[in-house]
């Protein structure tokens, strides 16, 4: 009897319910889209910030210094130790990592800094480099190298030219695969494969520093750095302050901005649905009067109406959430180029919110408890 009444009520007033359903569905869609967006945006932005390059550096603690033209430069450490430590730790957060061995070699009788590294990681570690030519794909490839734009200009190197590097009495040759425009010290350097530079400098298995790009919030990066430091007690592991500090502050600001705007819209949408439901409830006064005159108790009558709007809220909420998840998916594609996958926790949250709001909207019906049926039916 109860549910038949509810069902009849829903069927009986399709026109007016249309407005209410529309309000609930679009409200739920906006809310779920924004919640999905808000939860996904931090993840997306921390990934965007990785174009800033490495945020953790491993270097030897101040030990025996090497000498370059009379000045102290940081000392060396064995490549093996660092790689072993990196392999122990979970690699999911590390978006790129590369060892570096810097030597000062001569090419065309000009002194130039040669960085021995894994050229395949450079592309991920330094995503903002403007590269003319091609990246070196394999870290074992000793025949190719990348040169900074100033090096290329000074030595008049073009793509494909051979470059002869001399270090003491040894020499090595590589082909210029790409010219790097970085807007920094890298413009004055040559990037070759680590093994080639190690054999050129006769420093087998040695590296100067290792750079890591770790994705995640400031806390995740700090935790990772701490665990790495514990695994490598003899070396210095430090987050690059320029990157981590600025990133943390900026992310916080952007997050706060979006959260506060989303909150505003959430309140507005909830109010809108509430208003529509309240209006719908008031239109039901006549039905209440009729039921009351037929002997229905007010609590039962209100129960029927609450069930009615509850069903409305649940159905509209469900439709809206799915719509909203699709909207967030599209927004992710539009803004970040990758989709924002829907979060499961948004579904129950949105539906629950819609049910609560619709029920709250139907509450004015309770005020009808002391109204005499005759007055309502007369139309006052």
């Amino acid at each position: 009897m109860f549910w038949r009444l509810v069902f009849q009520l829903l069927r009986g007033s399709r026109g007016r319910l249309g407005v209410a359903i529309l309000a609930i569905v679009s409200g739920a869609a906006v809310i779920s889209a924004l919640l999905n967006l808000d939860l996904g945006v931090q993840n997306k932005l921390t990934q965007e910030f990785r174009t800033l390059g490495a945020n953790i550096v491993i270097s030897p603690a101040s030990g025996a210094p090497a000498q370059i033209s009379g000045a102290e430069v940081p000392s060396l450490m064995p490549e093996r130790d660092v790689l072993a430590a990196l392999q122990q730790l979970p690699s999911a957060q590390v978006s790129a990592a590369a060892p570096y061995l810097y030597i000062v070699a001569r090419a065309q009788n000009i002194r130039v800094v040669v960085a021995g590294t894994w050229p395949d990681q450079a592309q991920k570690l330094d995503a903002t480099w403007k590269l003319e030519g091609n990246w070196v794909r394999s870290r074992e490839d000793q025949s190719q190298c990348l040169v900074g734009r100033n090096v290329a200009r000074r030595m008049q190197l073009a793509l494909g030219n051979p470059l002869e590097l001399h270090y003491m009495d040894r020499s090595a040759q590589c082909r210029v695969a790409g010219i790097v425009d970085a807007g920094g010290a890298e413009d004055n350097q040559v990037f070759a494969s680590l093994s080639a530079v190690q054999s050129l400098a006769n420093l087998p298995g040695q590296i100067g520093v290792a750079q890591l790009s770790v994705t995640g919030t400031a806390q995740i990066v700090a935790d990772y750095a701490a665990r790495l430091a514990a695994a490598l007690p003899q070396y210095q592991v430090r987050p690059i302050r320029q990157v981590t500090e600025a990133e943390g502050a900026l992310l916080g600001r952007i997050r706060l901005l979006i959260v506060s705007m989303v909150l505003l819209i959430l309140i507005l949408t909830a109010l809108c649905v509430l208003g529509t439901m309240a209006a719908l409830a008031m239109e039901r006064r006549k039905d209440v009067g009729l039921m009351k005159s037929l002997g229905g108790s007010i609590s039962r009558i209100v129960g029927i109406f609450l069930a009615e709007v509850g069903v409305l809220g649940a159905v509209g909420g469900l439709l809206g959430t799915i719509l909203g998840a699709a909207l967030a998916y599209w927004m992710g594609l539009r803004v970040f180029g990758t989709a924002i996958s829907p979060r499961w926790e948004v579904f129950p949250a949105t539906i629950a919110l819609m049910i609560v709001v619709t029920l709250a909207g139907a509450l004015p019906l309770r005020m009808l408890g002391n109204v005499k049926p005759a007055e309502i039916l007369r139309g006052e």
Binding site: Y102, N150, G183, Q242, L257, L268
Partner: protein, 435 residues
């Protein structure tokens, strides 16, 4: 007659009008607040991004290759080209001078510390330095503006004083020689005995090459290197706008003779604070230099600013949508609730046009009043949001006032049009019977 009907309607049922007006006020307040923030966020965030430090690097054009590892130039002082410190004031005379937030010259000098007998690198720079600008004013700048993440334990050296700040790595290695308050002696070559005495005022930890160097005032470094008034590198922190197609073309036109900007394009490029146009303007006042964007910083900033901008516009759109929904729903409900009234009017011979006109006029009047109140509430909201997110309140945009009013009126009208059209088909008798 029309005006009297309208007046009566407002006077007779103020409660219902208040509800509609409340929806309008809240909807338009949210719309105003989000629009204000969205309009302002680009500038605000660009300023926040300056916490990443400098985004332009100025070096001598005809330089030898710097032997630079980890940010320290190991070239001997007699090699390579230098720039003139005296020219730096000109940076504040370019077209986008107000967008130059700070600049810091650097001079790296290989030297020896008598106390440890070890070789080290001296980095001559400014921390807070007053630069005379050609127009007679002073501009205070230095590493405090371009390297905000540098932290010093103790205090920074006074500008031009015989003081220095020692890198944390060095201080850890020679704790006896580099304690705060000690005096160290610096020499250019190992032979000469006494050297230049400097008092250590602080220990710096930058997380970079400076941790193994000694930072000292630029004039002192110039004196030790024997190059008075010179420096090697200039870091500039400038407020910029994310690069777009025009910025790319403008940049490429500098080097590529095949690309020619039309005069209008050139003007638009020159008068936009793109990093390439600011770089171009710096090169004009500092001839013989190579000005280059630090791509790591500039690109990241551009990408994130563009993305957050798009994101906020989408959120603003959602806000506008939600506001429209709220207003349209309330307007529709008002019309539906007053069907009996419409029935009476029509039974007394009112034409559909008159009934519609009265309702629309009512809605528009309400929309204007609600929109105006909503604008001021929203401006307050934006102020509060700006204050809590960026630390400075967002200024109200008067340009939004007419926009918000028009928006409110249009939405309210659209919201009531649909039910009004349906009301036009009602037969008065049916409505009056209460069906």
């Amino acid at each position: 007659m029309f005006a009297r009907l309208l007046g009566e309607s407002f006077a007779r049922n103020p409660r219902r009008k208040v509800l509609t007006a409340a929806a309008l006020v809240i909807g338009m307040a949210v719309a105003t607040a989000t629009l204000t923030i969205a309009l302002e966020v680009g500038d605000r965030l660009a300023r926040e991004f300056r916490s990443l430090g400098a985004n332009l690097l100025v070096t001598p054009e005809s330089d030898t290759l710097p032997v630079e590892i980890g940010g320290v130039d190991y070239r001997p002082v007699d090699e390579g080209a230098y720039l003139n410190e005296a020219d730096l004031g000109k940076l504040k005379t370019i077209f986008w001078r107000h967008n130059i937030l700070g600049f810091t010259p650097f001079l790296d000098v290989p030297a020896y510390v008598s106390e440890t007998g070890g070789a080290t690198t001296l980095i001559g720079t400014w921390y807070k330095h007053e630069v005379p600008v050609p127009d007679g004013t002073k501009f205070e700048t230095g590493a405090s503006a371009t390297h905000p993440w540098w932290k010093v334990q103790g205090r920074w050296f006074q500008d031009g004083a015989d003081e220095c700040v020692v890198g944390a790595g060095l201080a850890e290695k020679y704790p006896a020689a580099f304690a705060i308050g000690k005096t160290i002696h610096l020499t250019q070559n190992q032979v000469s005995g006494d050297g230049r005495p400097l008092v250590v005022t602080g220990i710096i930890s930058t997380g970079d090459a400076e941790d193994n160097a000694v930072l000292l005032p630029l004039p002192v470094a110039q004196e030790i290197s024997g190059h008075p008034g010179k420096f090697r590198q200039l870091f500039v922190s400038a407020l910029t706008k994310p690069a777009d197609a025009l910025a790319e073309r403008g940049e490429r036109a500098q080097t590529d003779k095949n690309i020619q900007l039309t005069p209008t394009e050139y003007d638009r490029w020159f008068c936009s604070p793109y990093i390439s146009s600011i770089g171009f303007q710096i090169r004009t006042v500092l001839p013989g230099t190579d000005v280059h964007a630090i791509r790591r910083v500039a690109e990241t900033e551009g990408r994130i600013l563009t993305r957050v901008g798009t994101l906020l516009w989408i959120v603003t759109l959602a806000a506008l949508g939600a506001a429209a929904l709220a207003i349209a729903a309330t307007s529709a409900t008002t019309v539906l609730e007053r069907r009996a009234e419409i029935g009476v009017m029509k039974a007394l011979g009112a034409s559909n046009a008159l009934v519609g006109g009265i309702f629309l006029a009512e809605q528009v009047l309400l929309a204007i009043a609600g929109g105006a109140i909503g604008f001021f509430v929203g401006a307050g909201l934006a102020r509060f949001l700006g204050e809590s997110v960026f630390g400075t309140p967002a200024a109200p945009r008067l340009i939004l006032f007419p926009v918000v009013l028009a928006l409110a009126a249009v939405i309210a009208m659209i919201g009531s049009l649909v039910p009004l059209r349906r009301a036009a088909h009602f037969r008065p008798a049916v409505i009056l019977r209460g069906e």
